[in-house]
């Protein structure tokens, strides 16, 4: 049985581990340290942790001030409040100057669950994708979350790490190198390529299992970096498989599906579909029930693949 852990716990642990190796790391939060799990860092390094209270805009600009002073700030809050409420602070005070600030923003997507639509960010990737200089990492499991934190620390400039709330089984290999800007093939297949990101990677693997029974060989690719986007991978997958399906726990507008569409349009005749949240807000419910209601389970992915190949 693979190890299961919430991505936010993996994020908190990774910060503590990184903090031990790099004394420039400081962690900022906006009264959500016990939800984003930066509280782990606070316990380990109380004098390197700064709480800004409920003031995300101030926190983001202050993070720029830390970065301008040669420190390596990781600022955390919920994905919606970071990318949404503090959008223009990230845009002008951080990305515009390529300030070396990292945002580990948790509780992304529908999987916040019961808190409902006011807290479910269906648009955070889209908001960050349009900002120049931004790198966007979307880990799919605890191992990849740890790798994303360490990789972000090596990138010179702003990095958004999208951290989902649920407990997730480990599906990737600790020894596989994590190379930002690339797409990682998890399973070979020649009939269709499923490009999945975040929590959808596991569902895509399950979908590929069920498709295999029917004789459909689906390639499954883990899109852990939405930006910069690995266009070469997408084009070669389109060439190899002739069909591409994107799957994301995010709006189909502006996220992974859009990124793939932008690459394929005019460059490929491959069949193409986007699976994701269809320009709607979420609502309260258990994450699994919401994934079911929004058509984001393995069964939906398999059905979409069949339809695309049909």
């Amino acid at each position: 049985m693979p190890e299961a852990k919430s991505l936010r716990a993996a994020y908190g642990e990774a910060l503590v581990e990184l903090g031990a190796k790099n004394d420039k790391v400081v962690v900022l939060d906006a009264d959500l340290a016990h939800a984003t799990m930066t509280s782990m860092f606070e316990s380990a390094y109380p004098d390197r942790f700064y709480n800004f209270g409920l003031a995300e805009a101030n926190m983001m600009c202050a993070a720029a001030g830390f970065a301008h002073s040669g420190l390596l700030p990781f600022a955390s809050t919920f994905a919606l409040f970071g990318t949404g409420r503090a959008y223009e602070q990230i845009r002008n005070s951080i990305a515009y100057v390529n300030a070396n600030v990292k945002f580990g923003l948790s509780h992304s997507g529908l999987s916040v669950g019961e808190d409902g639509g006011s807290h479910q960010s269906v648009e955070d990737i889209a908001l960050m994708r349009v900002v120049p200089n931004m790198t966007i990492l979307v880990p799919c499991d605890p191992i990849e979350t740890r790798k994303a934190v360490f990789a972000a620390a090596l990138i010179d400039g702003p990095v958004y790490i999208r951290v989902a709330r649920p407990v997730v089984e480990t599906i990737t290999d600790p020894d596989t190198p994590f190379v930002p800007g690339t797409i990682l093939r998890l399973r070979e297949g020649s009939d269709i390529c499923i490009l999945a990101t975040g929590l959808m990677v596991r569902e895509a693997l399950k979908a590929a299992d069920s498709l295999a029974v029917e004789g459909i060989r689906a390639e499954v690719a883990d899109v852990h970096t939405i930006k910069p986007f690995d266009a070469d991978y997408v084009l070669s997958a389109a060439e190899r498989c002739g069909a591409i399906l994107t799957v994301e726990e995010h709006s189909v507008i502006g996220g992974l599906g859009s990124a793939a569409a932008e690459v394929l349009a005019g460059n490929s005749a491959a069949r193409f579909r986007r699976l994701g949240i269809r320009d709607k807000f979420g609502y309260s419910g258990r994450p699994a029930d919401l994934f079911e209601a929004f058509g984001l389970m393995a069964g939906h992915i398999a059905r979409e693949c069949r339809a695309l190949l049909g």
Binding site: V26, D47, R48, Y50, F52, G53, A55, A57, N58, M60, C61, A62, A63, A64, G65, F66, H68, S69, G70, L71, E88, Q89, N92, S93, Y96, V97, N98
Partner: protein, 272 residues
């Protein structure tokens, strides 16, 4: 009642501001002219800086949170030798390092990108917190506008500055009373702004913002465990008669006749 006359430096800086704004036919004269002596008090009498080493780690930091007033800052940075004075005449041009709002990645001597009002003070807060974190002795000065303090972020930063006891942070307010749409009191009254900062935990002082010695003296003081707030009483458009106290000169280009008049009033015949 403020200080009556401007000295040669203040007139020369103003002539540079007027010239660069006339040449680019855009930009913000009113708020640039109101903060000249505040910047003079800081840059010529207070800040520990070295124009030959703009990235000197231990320098004092200055954040022009009211970023649109950057022509005044550019004139001073040029005068101090951070870059050639001739650069000023390329303000806002496509190949110039002098952007419409301050850009630390392009212009030597700029410590933070500002222009989107409200953000600069929070960056200054981060700089001050980082200085404490690194046990550095340098101080951080931020100049905010009176319209700018209507931004909610200002108060997020003010609360945090007191919470973290940032006695290395000095906030100066260029209080000329006018913003784009008219007088502060008509657009969105500030109330008793000194009482407000005081209630947020700042040590407060009020000075004549056109008296650089008074500004420097207030900015130089330090209160253990508290950030400082200095309300600088100023006149928008100070030094150019037809701009003084007129909100319309917030961001209006001058025509040739207005330019000549402004230069003459500022002793323009003294420029060789």
């Amino acid at each position: 009642m403020g200080r009556e006359s401007l000295d040669a430096t203040e007139l020369a800086l103003r002539r540079d501001i007027i010239k660069m704004l006339y040449l680019c036919q855009s930009g913000h004269p009113g708020g640039s002219l109101s903060c000249v002596e505040i910047l003079e008090g800081l840059y010529y009498r207070t800040l520990r800086i070295d124009p030959s080493r703009p990235d000197w780690e231990d320098r004092d930091r200055f954040v022009l949170s009211k970023g649109h007033s950057c022509p005044a800052l550019y004139a001073i940075l040029a005068d101090l030798g951070f870059f050639p004075r001739s650069d000023l005449w390329r303000l806002r041009q496509v190949d110039s390092h002098l952007q419409g709002h301050p850009d630390m990645t392009k212009t030597p001597g700029i410590d933070a990108n500002t222009g989107s009002l409200g953000q600069g003070l929070s960056i200054a807060l981060g700089l001050a917190l980082a200085a404490k974190h690194k046990r550095k002795m340098y101080r951080v000065f931020a100049l905010v506008g009176d319209g700018e303090v209507q931004e909610g972020m200002i108060w997020e930063a003010a609360m945090a500055a007191a919470h973290y006891k940032l006695d290395n942070l000095v906030v100066l307010l260029d209080h000329n009373g006018l913003q784009i749409d008219g007088p502060n009191e008509k657009v969105m009254g500030l109330g008793n702004i000194v009482s407000k900062f005081s209630a947020f935990g700042f040590d407060c002082e009020e000075v004549d913002g056109h008296d650089p010695e008074a500004v420097a003296s207030a900015a130089g003081r330090r209160t253990e465990g508290k950030p400082r707030f200095i309300r600088c009483r100023t006149v928008k458009g100070k030094g150019v008669s037809f701009m003084e106290g007129i909100a319309g000169w917030h961001g209006k280009p001058m025509n040739a006749q207005e330019y000549e008049t402004a230069l003459r009033e500022l002793g323009g015949d003294q420029d060789a």
